[in-house]
Symmetry: C2
Subunit: 494 residues, 2 copies
């Protein structure tokens, strides 16, 4: 049974999938964990009681920006509330609103440990709001109908999602008679972009935003297209120069072996694939996927980049066979006793990968290329072919400049230096997406909090005993800033 | 020929029309001037050469917030540019962007004299952008098609209009290679709301906004519903207590006379109507319309409220016949030698009145009532019947809370005190709409500039030799603040 093999490395068919998959903050949240190679290596230590989390539904408007009859259609939007720590409306106790991203919202309470760890010290309510078209918040009666064609999926975009969040926040505050409870919106990765944009577009509904690993500048040529892979490369180079060079050499070696008459058979054997390879693309992609995800989620205590390089360098000291040494990296990374390591099977898109594919094909056009002198082989971002593929798949073309038109991004310091307030942009510099994040303070209340050794959304996870001091300090800094917002708000309220 | 009579007072059929019509800034801009009773009494003194104004069209996207195939439809959006005063892209000379409101844009250059009067001292380009569904900026090929039903008219709303402006501003700056030219958005009345909201939603595209007479707080119970008519009443009471009382008594007197057997005939004669009255509603509405517009546009040098009260009080000193005295007010107001003063004819909706009717029936729900002890007879704002009428006319219901959901408004000082910058809220306190305006500074860069004796959008008109000192000073203050923004921008740019 293939499904029972829990293979840890999957041969993806499309490089794009990397960027669809990886803009996810807590890696646990994917419903098909095999899409997320790091799902197995970290376990939450949060011991919270999730019976405190109640599920609700809001009658959400299909289209906030149109008044044609169809736009008035209603769908059920799911949101969750954890009342356990809340000080109540009478004391104007705050509300943490986690803005859901490209996944079902019920995966958030256990894994966004930052909220449950800290809600008590704020006496905060925790509100988790699901993003439209994910989980149970799907219009048109069923997911199948909702994503059937461009006419039904067209309502699936960030501006509509932010308006949904606005409506839900207003509704919840009204229902709880909590008019003066300050709301802080929080999100990671795409959710962090949403949190940033929500604070900028709806300052009347949120006094501040914590945006973790939000690459809001990875649009429209603001960030160099090869920036993501520059960091992947740097992560490996800094972990081990020899490991880095071994990986770089491996691509040509794979091709060389594959070009032999029995090459694919040799590769299948060397990489212990679950089924014989019939081309090398799947193998190459699966290795790329491993390196990229190791870099993006290069987390303590193990640091998967170190783990892979430990495997590769350890083997390299004994053998000069590049591919065997690479395979040693795979074994080290997967920590698995499974017989086969590389599973080349059919790709069943999860709602996350399918949904994010649509989002990147419509408005969230994040142009990522692989430059020369990278860990992986060079690969330009060809917008024309990207747009053609999107058009072919969904029937409509991307709008690659819309994000910067609606949300801005160009000259962000010049623009926001004297506009806006109360946003924390947190990043870990080992995260390749940090290249598209805000890494310097914009003003005294638009604050960048980054850690040199941090990774994607690391601060959002629950605290662990093994957390290094810099991570503890990062979270403390964020909490201190957020408490400052609330103190100021209460003072202004008087 | 009725069309040649240029009757100055029109019997409107619906009190709503007052509020549809009057949210127009320069009264000259209406294509059917008879809808605007004050069109005849003021003439522009601007001597600008409008051959400098060139007309352009932009291929605008039908729906910015949806990705269904229809949303990709393109329509031609008109914009005008006056290059005469511009210092050019090389010197990063600024751009004044007038955000069109509920009227064709070509009426703006001659009548928004504030821009042409001051562009030279800024070396500014003047860009006038037409609002979708007005003038020549109409989707679906023709106005008839565009407003045919809720499916086509549904795209007609402020959020879409702001996104249009964003696209046009980006396009114009790109075309002129004027990347670093700062843009200041400007608008009056509804256009002033758009300017405010544009600065708040698109700070990356406009460094500041001048919002003249923008009642951004006249939504959703923020402003008392009777505030508008409290000011109408105050304007008349302050002009003349006896005049005010005469008008108040006149409503019962009209009813008393009308209830007589030949009452309508007497009234037709007393008010010199162009055709015999067959009911009193038209007469009552036309008088209300006169008082309201006199209050809203109570401008120097003549001050129409004084003119009307001069007529009424002058006659009252000689006669105790209330209706004759009221008629003397009508004669004074109209300054007309036409035989007939009150024309009860069929109402041909202009694109402005029709368009604004839609806008107020969908999102711009401005709840205006007439309280007790007002100049006019009390009239509550009944949302249910309002919504029912809208639903009946357009097939869809209003969304009365959307403006405050998307743009805010509640607790504006608390919200914006530490968020946002560079908006001038200008108002004249004789303008009944000033009751829904921002009349106090929110922060040191969200500034309220009001004049006690000013009226609706008065500062936007061209300077006249007869302008009182307080008006000259108001405009000077606005210019000084705007120059400060630009100086700061250039300093930040370095």
């Amino acid at each position: 049974m293939k499904q029972n093999q829990h293979p840890l490395i999957i041969l993806a068919f499309n490089l794009l999938l990397f960027f669809m998959i990886f803009l996810v903050c807590p890696t646990y949240s994917l419903t098909i964990p095999r899409l997320s190679p790091i799902a197995e290596w970290e376990k939450t230590t949060t011991a919270d009681d999730y019976s405190d989390v109640k599920t609700f539904y809001y009658n959400q408007t299909l289209d906030h920006f149109n008044y044609n009859p169809q736009s008035y259609q209603i769908f059920q939007q799911r949101y969750l509330i954890n009342f356990k720590y809340w000080g109540g409306a009478n004391s104007n106790a705050p509300i943490f609103a986690l803005l859901g991203a490209e996944e079902p919202i019920d995966s958030s309470p256990p894994f966004i440990g930052f909220l449950t760890d800290n809600a008590a010290s704020f006496s905060a309510l925790i509100l988790y709001i699901e993003h439209r078209y994910y989980g149970k918040s799907v219009p048109f009666g069923s997911r199948e109908e909702a994503v059937k064609n461009a006419s039904t999926i067209g309502y699936f975009n960030s501006a509509q999602a932010l308006a949904d969040y606005a409506q839900v926040i207003i509704h919840v505050k009204k229902t709880l008679h909590a008019k003066n409870s300050p709301v802080i919106v929080i999100g990671g990765s795409y959710g962090g972009m949403l949190a940033t944009w929500f604070r900028l577009k709806y300052p009347h509904l949120a006094i501040g935003a914590l945006a973790s690993s939000a690459p809001i500048l990875y649009f429209d040529h603001i960030t160099p297209q090869d920036a993501y892979h520059s960091i992947v490369s740097r992560d490996f180079r800094e972990a081990s120069k020899t490991c880095y060079e071994t990986i770089r050499k491996s691509w040509a070696e794979i091709k060389r072996v594959a070009s032999q008459s029995n090459g694919l058979s040799i590769l299948s054997q060397k990489f212990n694939t679950c089924e014989p390879l019939n081309q090398i693309d799947g193998l190459v992609y699966s290795l790329e996927l491993m390196y990229i995800s190791a870099a993006q989620y290069d987390r303590p205590p193990d640091y998967p980049v170190n783990v892979i390089c430990g495997g590769i360098d350890g083997a390299s000291s004994k053998s000069s066979d590049i591919l065997s040494n690479i395979y040693a990296g795979v074994v080290a990374f997967t920590k698995s006793n499974d017989t086969c390591k590389v599973y080349y099977g059919p790709f069943n898109g999860s709602e996350t990968s399918e949904g994010w594919r649509w989002q990147t094909c419509s408005e969230m056009v994040i142009p990522i290329s692989i430059g020369n002198n990278s860990l992986l082989e060079p690969s330009p971002f060809n917008y024309e072919s990207f747009a053609r593929d999107c058009k072919e798949k969904f029937g409509v073309a991307p709008r690659p400049h819309w994000v910067t038109t609606y949300y801005g991004g160009h000259d962000i310091k010049l623009v926001l230096k004297k506009f806006g307030s109360n946003i924390i942009f947190s990043n870990g510099l080992r995260d390749p997406y940090s290249s598209g994040g805000v890494l310097n303070n914009i003003s005294d209340s638009l604050i960048a909090v980054h850690t040199v050794n941090g990774s994607h959304c690391l601060d959002m996870l629950g605290a662990k005993k093994t957390d290094p001091n810099w991570l503890v300090e990062q979270r403390k800094t964020e909490i201190k800033i957020m408490k400052g917002w609330i103190t100021q708000y209460y003072a202004d309220l008087k």
